[in-house]
Amino acid sequence: MAERSFAKEVQQLRLGAGQPFHGEGILAVTKALLQSGVSYVGGYQGAPISHLMDVLSDGKEILEELGVHFESSASEASAAAMLAASVNYPLRGAVAWKSTVGTNVASDALANLASGGVRGGALVVVGEDYGDGSSIMQERTHAFAMKSQIWLLDPRPNLESIVAAVEQGFELSEASNTPVMLELRIRACHVHGRFTAKDNRRPDFTLKDAMERPERDVSRIVLPPSSFLHEQEKVNTRWPAALRFIQERGLNEVFADDGQDVGLILQGGMYNTVIRALQLLGLSDAFGNSDIPLYVLNVTYPLVDAEINRFCAGKRAVLMIEEGQPEFIEQALHATLRRADLTTKVHGKDMLPMAGEYTAPVVLNGLRAFVERYMPDVAVQGGVSVPAPVAKEVAGSVDPRPPGFCTGCPERPIFTAMKLVERELGPHHVSCDIGCHLFSILPPFNIGNTTMGYGLGWAGASALNARDASKRTISVMGDGGFWHNGLTSGVGNAVFNRSDNVLVVVDNGYAAATGGQDIPSSLADNPNRATKNPIERAVRGVGVTWVRTLTRTYDVARVRDTLREALTTKEKGPKVIIAQSECMLNRQRRVKPLMKRMVKEGRRVVRERFGVDPDTCTGDHSCIRLSGCPSLSIAPNPDPLRRDPITQVQNSCVGCGLCGEVADAAVLCPSFYRAELISNPSWWDRLRHRVNGWVIGRLQARIDRRLERHAA
């Protein structure tokens, strides 16, 4: 079960023609897929695409009604390969993932798909994780579109345009026998807006038809001589067909072109930002009625030379607003105009920054430079109000707030244990992976050297396997990365190449970092997926003999001892520690409502939480440095003689017990206590409580009498 439920929202997928849809961009994409008569959908989760996958999972019933097959693909490569169904058959299919990381993984299948071409519409929805809030390397999906000749849509970021892009994307794909990518920036995926719905469409040709009446066409398979033919087809047939379709259907848009001699060319996704910047400069109203002509590229690849020439003819200069680098479109623009002998001056990365997100202030500055140079008579407005000087001064009081492990996260104790082992054996080289566990590289743990990609944690340490080294390396991999490819790229590779090093597999039961989706080793009962396939069996299956499964990561001493054993044992060969405990975020979502219900029903429920005694805490915060749990915070010292803040456990504590275990394993401090709150206690609880309370009360009264005597 995913972190967020869309059970309520998916009802909007049933909306019919003319009804208003209100919701998130990614949900609108899903609705558009159903309106387009899609036959199959696949993908791999990862922000900002996770919600699309979660919506489809929660919308299973609606998909079944329409005969749509949905898969949670094992990886982006699996998802891309799924589009092969559209090669021989008139089936529309869509897949989705986080880009560019997912496109990297998928590119083998994508290149093969693009080479042979498609018969049914094939759409790849990529969530472009670029700029603010991104968790990956800053690159462009554009390059993949160019290298494989896949058309790239970058629609204006409003729901009407996004939905239209999905529908037109399928048609473009079919008209040009080419797969199409739909690029959505992260905020566009999560934008709440509205559009007018159409009826959903059942596919005319079904998956069943394809399976029962298979067709083949050897010329669609990538092997010589067809592969050479494919390249010729791309250039001579599919490309011109795409250009025709784009122009005939008016996929790109021109606004406010009333004979002015300057203009702006922009990616569709930049449109709202450009209009806001123009508005702040006094060059547009709130509805996009601009004083400067705009040529909006809702298709950023291929470019339509004829449209470019038409827009630029008669203009002294244009400003190309293209986010990301290299500046592929700007370069192409230069070549196009040169070929057409047009002397229009092209500006772009000279007035706007080469790298980084194009936020409104960035675009505002670029536009101002362009307007001042070419429209000196236009009085440009100041744009925005100026912050008070205090804005600069306050910087010293604002700390960075990096993401970190959640309250009670079962991954935290693994790194605490690593810290403790480090104290004994000194530092080790640690190869990290993609997932929540990568937060180990940040304070308070500061553990980890590199991360080479999802599932590649162990492969990232494979060179460091010297026979004469006195220390072993530690690699980390999540269960998500393990099933994505780590089983082969990491574990199989280590067995085959006789690695003598250590892998810790963080098995928390979900693809947790992407929103808690189920994976093959999940322990949840999932009616639609085969779960409960243990990682240990897979690891042993590929030939690892030294395997330890720890079923409770919160037992820090045990994790520490197992790690120490793995690092120091005389036994040669790869060593795998599988550290299991359920993702706390998902556990709380699962357990909390259950507990509430049980209390209401009058059943005995014990809730645990931890606390710190303020009068024994001396405020050195070692416990926080070894844990970093958000619920383990500080508070002013109630002791008038002390100044340093004390440690305090906040009520958000979920009682995982790590702080107590750490205090114990690291021999820190006796200030921690565990409180068990028993709701609806049994008669035995009550009796014991009464007897204990009576005796303890009398003894405490004696203590109090002493204190009073002295105070007098």
Binding site: G133, H190, T273, S385, G628, S679, L707, H710
Partner: protein
């Protein structure tokens, strides 16, 4: 009700004859704090009040406790109808173009100010004054907290109007969440042209925790109407000696407190109030060092049981059980024995062998059960014999040397004497932490004569103490010492 753009607040934000533009709202929060719920309420409120509403956010890793921004734009539907077109709304806030900033925590409000989202001619800043400490603040070995007052002052200076209130307190006292209190403060601030009832209807339509949310909403609303909330500054008592006497009586007995006063006597006569205050504070802390007897004593008190009940919010029909995490090592056992016996134990390999298995793992003691309570009660009962313990002798020997050093320095260099008194703060914590602190303390004390040859000995000692407290590894102290050239090369 259709959006009334002539309402005073909207007018102020928009200017009298300026063209129609969107109302811009930024919610600054930390992932998982309910910023999403708040922006959903605002969108729902606006859509039901005749507005086109757009909101965006950046879920992803920021949702795992990192700082994040939710951004909302509202536009009157009537104006769009009149124009025959939908407005083009921005997906990101533009610094200098934000009408309302809602901050779920004080440092996040400061971050919004720093990013220029809060500007004096247009922004209404609504912020909670409570603190969620950053990882840097929490992991500092001493006090790493930033000045909350400075953050509040910056917010007040940067904004056109401001509402500061402890929304976490409101949320807690109403059993709700911060976003509900903020939503109430937004309504109360009248920064949006909607009525209170429209806000409350949005909460009802949300359908989750409605009653508690409405209570928090109401409290937030009143805070915003009432203007600025005074922020309580914890006042530190100046009666340090009185506190010291109280502490030591509680710790041991009145005679022990008398001893404290006697040791302080020379400093009372010195006519140096700052020195007296520092010595009084740190002597009291040192004389009440945390040994096993003290820990057991504090953990068994009725007042402590009451405090825990309060902290975990024990319900009327619930029963509480308390368990302690203890890890006494051989050292702690020896410390609690009579000095001679303790020394023998520490020196004896046989005793180590016998005791090692018993002290290797920590123990969890259930203080709310009879067995656990009696165990701790018995240990606390060793208090009358404390003066004879090994730990007592060691600590008091160190205290004597420390006081002698302060007294020796006081006449010639009172500033240095004050710093020596303050250096006691290096010694804190338990087991390893305590040993490391003591080691650092003794090392610095030994260097005091060398420091006196420098131009500002007090400054040197302060810097070195801060370095000793900067990390666990001692790296900062080593670096500072190397820079100071105080030690003979080792």
């Amino acid at each position: 009700m259709p959006l009334d753009l002539d309402a005073p607040s909207a007018q102020a934000a928009q200017g009298q004859d300026a063209p129609v533009r969107a109302i811009t709202i930024a919610v600054v929060a930390m992932g998982g704090e309910g910023g999403g719920v708040l922006s959903d309420w605002i969108v729902d409120l606006a859509e039901h009040a005749g507005c086109i509403a757009q909101s965006t956010s950046v879920p992803g890793v920021a949702q795992r406790t990192g700082a994040t921004i939710y951004y909302i734009e509202l536009f009157p539907e009537a104006a769009a109808k009149a124009a025959g077109r939908d407005p083009v709304l921005s997906l990101t806030p533009v610094p200098g173009d934000v009408d309302i900033v809602l901050a779920s925590e004080l440092m996040e409000a400061g971050r919004a100010v720093q990013r220029g989202l809060v500007t004096p001619d247009r922004t209404v800043l609504i912020a909670s004054t409570h603190r969620v400490y950053s990882i840097r603040e929490r992991t500092a070995p001493a006090d790493g907290r930033v000045d909350a007052e400075a953050l509040i002052a910056a917010g007040k200076e940067a904004a056109r109007r401001h509402v500061f209130a402890d929304m976490a307190h409101i949320a807690e006292s109403t059993g709700s969440v911060i976003s509900a209190a903020l939503f109430g403060a937004l309504a109360g601030s009248q920064a949006l042209p909607f009525e209170r009832a429209q806000f409350e209807a949005a909460i009802r339509r949300g359908g989750v925790g409605v009653e508690a949310s409405l209570a928090a909403f109401s409290a937030g609303y009143e805070r915003a109407q009432g203007g600025d909330a005074a922020v309580a500054v914890p006042e530190e008592t100046t009666e340090t000696i009185r506190e010291g006497v109280k502490r030591l009586t509680d710790y041991q007995d009145p005679a022990y407190a008398q001893e404290y006063l006697e040791r302080l006597a020379p400093f009372r006569a010195s006519g140096h109030p700052e020195l007296l205050d520092e010595v009084a504070r740190h002597l009291a802390l040192w004389m009440s060092y945390e040994d096993t007897i003290r820990v057991a004593d504090l953990k068994t008190r009725a007042s402590r049981f009451a405090r825990v009940c309060d902290e975990v919010r024990l319900g009327k029909d619930q029963i509480l059980q308390i368990s302690e995490y203890m890890h006494p090592r051989i050292e702690e056992v020896a410390d609690t024995l009579p000095a001679g016996l303790g020394r023998w134990l520490l020196g004896s390999t046989l005793a180590h062998k016998v005791l090692a298995p018993l002290t290797r793992r920590g123990r969890v003691v259930r203080t709310s059960s009879l067995g656990g309570f009696l165990l701790l009660y018995a240990v606390a009962g060793l208090r009358p014999w404390r003066r004879g313990t090994l730990r007592f002798q060691c600590e008091h020997e160190r205290i004597r040397r420390w006081l002698d050093l302060i007294r020796a320095m006081a006449p010639e260099d009172p500033a240095l004497a004050v710093e020596i008194a303050r250096a006691q703060r290096l010694v804190k914590g338990y087991s390893d932490t305590h040993q490391r602190g003591t080691r650092n303390f003794e090392r610095l004390m030994a260097l005091v004569p060398a420091m006196r040859r420098k131009s500002d000995p007090a400054g040197y000692l302060r810097v070195l103490c801060d370095a000793a407290l900067a990390d666990d590894t001692g790296a900062a102290l080593e670096a500072a010492l190397a820079e100071a050239h105080l030690e003979a090369p080792r």
